[in-house]
């Protein structure tokens, strides 16, 4: 009989047996979206892949983009939680479960994209009966299989003690299937010393094993593209570039999932600002690495100017793909600014008048109007008629200055609202990463050799299946956290024990460097040590 404290029980266990109206409404909406997606998919099977926007030469389109995107999201969890576990980052405890759940479900959704994309989904088993190891698609099958099984296990292991806890603390009114489920999940967990030691050992082993597997998954996905001889894809940097992008977008998804779960399940006492702050540092690092790779990839193409590669780069920089390319860059830069600049802002500055949300709003409106006037077709004539003296360059400057002012004046607000900041940055990064995949797949597809360049627009079918995929992801996520606690109960409690012990041990100050020593001595002489 395992016991749990009253507060933990109220916040973590009890909500599992309650479901409000919002929960059912959400499920209903998700089911409707998925139903629509299913309808569109059946329609696609009946009529053929011609109902999508794909054509010759754009043989791959949005399905492939989504495939890479979702598998990328799946790197949120397992990889991050494994790295944090291996490095013994204590603050990871409340968020590992959410992260690992993202992995498992994003992998399911990502794999489904392959079914969407196949011309003959009925023959998918041929991948096994006739699978040829030379094809990178098989490499993918090998590494995704390992990753999927591994992350399911990695998600399951820490659930065991929690399931036993649930089994032992089941309320009277709980339906019998729950009793069976938890009994089954707990797998005879008694919580004696031997079991704990064995469980911890296995978790430690899995955490180490899962890291190379996760890296292999996205590397292999990038090799699907990089092993072909197509211009723009045949690049050695793709492996690490994709892995970095995957982790980057994965953290973005994790932030959003964390925030929503925290709010929906009232986990404010568990998932605190600390988690957001520390994960935010990793986020900033990934962002910097992402910029580095993006620059490396495009700069080499620009400098080489190969006859086949350069038109593709040009189509991204100023051609038909400039919109998606620059929106991606803008989103990523904005995410970086939102993440980093508030950290640089001295606290004392917030007394200045310009740091005021109303000022931000005003500037944003001005910048928005200026951009609309500049970008929306036909608007330029309106401008010319209204005020003949206003050349576009003035408008551009106005847009730029107002935009910069809007961002600057927003900084103290961002600094005060850490969690909202992270959500904003994550949303920007998710959009940017999806566009990045798009900018890799589609421009190469529509600019083939020996053919005039063409264009690719996804149809309603592709958008519907995208929406349905997202809905399926949320659906699984929401249901899952009605079955198991969103926070790993035993890990959090273990963390409390460790914190307690820590607070009792007087920690020696770290050895100061010689230059810092003098300053420290002086300050020590001025103030009495507090311990």
């Amino acid at each position: 009989m395992l016991t749990i404290g009253k507060r933990d029980k109220e916040v973590l266990l009890d909500p599992l047996y309650r479901a409000g109206r919002g929960f059912y409404i959400l499920l209903g909406v998700l089911i409707i979206i998925m139903g629509w997606g299913l309808f569109m998919y059946i329609r696609q099977i009946v009529f053929g892949l011609g109902v999508t926007g794909m054509d010759r030469p754009a043989y791959w389109g949005m399905y492939m983009v989504n495939f890479i995107f979702f598998i990328g999201i799946s790197h949120a969890g397992t990889l991050i939680s494994a790295i944090l576990r291996v490095t013994g980052a204590e603050w990871r405890r409340p968020i590992t479960r959410i992260a690992e759940a993202i992995t498992a479900f994003a992998l399911v959704v990502g794999t489904i994209q392959i079914f969407f994309d196949l011309g003959r989904p009925d023959r998918v088993l041929y991948l096994f009966t006739y699978g040829r190891l030379q094809s990178p698609l098989l490499w993918d099958a090998v590494s995704v299989t390992a990753y999927f099984l591994g992350s399911i296990v990695y998600l399951y292991l820490p659930i065991m003690p929690d399931a036993a806890l649930l089994r032992d603390n089941l309320p009277e009114e709980a339906p019998p299937w729950r009793r069976h489920l938890y009994k089954w999940l707990a797998l005879g967990w008694r919580g004696n010393r031997t079991q704990w030691l064995r469980l911890e050992k296995m978790i430690a082993v899995m955490a180490v094993l899962i890291i190379p597997i996760a890296i292999s998954v996205h590397t292999v996905i990038s090799w699907i593209l990089a092993t072909t001889v197509q211009p723009g894809w045949h690049s050695t940097v793709f492996g690490p570039y994709f892995v970095v992008g995957a982790i980057f977008s994965g953290i973005g998804a994790l932030f959003i999932a964390m925030t929503l779960t925290r709010r929906a399940l009232h986990l404010e006492a568990y998932i605190t600002e600390k988690q957001f702050r520390y994960l935010g540092y990793i986020f900033i690092t990934m962002s910097a690495i992402w910029f580095y790779f993006t620059y490396a990839e495009h700069m080499t193409q620009a400098a080489g100017q190969l006859a086949e590669e350069f038109p593709i780069l040009a189509s991204k920089l100023w051609g038909p793909f400039s919109a998606s390319f620059w929106v991606m860059i803008l989103a990523m830069v904005a995410a970086f600014v939102v993440l980093v600049f508030p950290l640089l802002l001295p606290d004392s500055w917030s007394k200045y008048r310009i740091f005021n949300p109303r000022f931000t709003l005003a500037n944003a409106v001005v910048a928005g109007v200026a951009i609309v006037l500049l970008q929306v077709p036909g608007m330029q004539r309106v401008v010319a008629n209204l005020s003949p003296g206003l050349p576009p360059i003035t408008l551009r400057i106005i847009a730029l200055v107002a935009g910069v002012l809007a961002i600057i004046s927003l900084l103290p607000w961002l600094k005060r609202h850490l969690i909202d900041t992270m959500v904003i940055a994550s949303a920007l990064v998710l959009v940017g990463m999806w566009l990045e995949r798009w900018n890799i797949i589609v421009p190469t597809m529509v600019n083939p050799r020996l053919m005039p360049s063409s264009w690719y627009t996804p149809t309603l079918t592709e958008w519907s299946l995208f929406a349905a995929s997202i809905a399926l992801f949320i659906f699984m996520f929401v249901l899952f956290f009605k079955l198991v606690p969103a926070v790993s109960v035993w890990e959090v409690r273990e963390g409390r024990v460790i914190d307690d012990v820590r607070s009792q041990v007087p920690m020696p100050a770290p050895e100061p460097s010689s230059s810092a020593r003098g300053a420290m001595r002086r300050s020590l002489e001025e103030t009495e040590p507090t311990y």
């Binding site: 699978g131 190891l133 090998v142 065991m160 797998l187 967990w189 008694r190 079991q195 273990e494 012990v501």
Partner: protein, 77 residues
């Protein structure tokens, strides 16, 4: 210089790469191995419940880890 493709070893490697069905076998073998390894480990954990120990821990406390003093000082605490 041409790649020594007439070398039987490389021919064997190419056969592995190029024969339909081998990929499927590899995936199935891999999945089976993982499932077996995981099941065995889970059984190992499950069997841990039979150890003649009275105490039960809902979560790892210091009491649990005092049992193995070697583990202290690194990682755990």
């Amino acid at each position: 210089m041409n790649f020594p493709m007439d070398n039987p070893f490389f021919q064997f490697l190419y056969w592995i790469m190029n024969t339909p069905g081998i990929g499927g076998i590899v995936v199935v073998v891999e999945a089976t191995l993982i499932v077996i390894a995981v099941s065995l480990s889970l059984r190992w954990i499950n069997k841990g419940a039979d150890a003649p120990e009275k105490e039960q821990f809902a979560y790892p406390t210091s009491a649990l880890h005092h049992y193995k003093p070697k583990r202290r000082g690194f990682g755990g605490l």
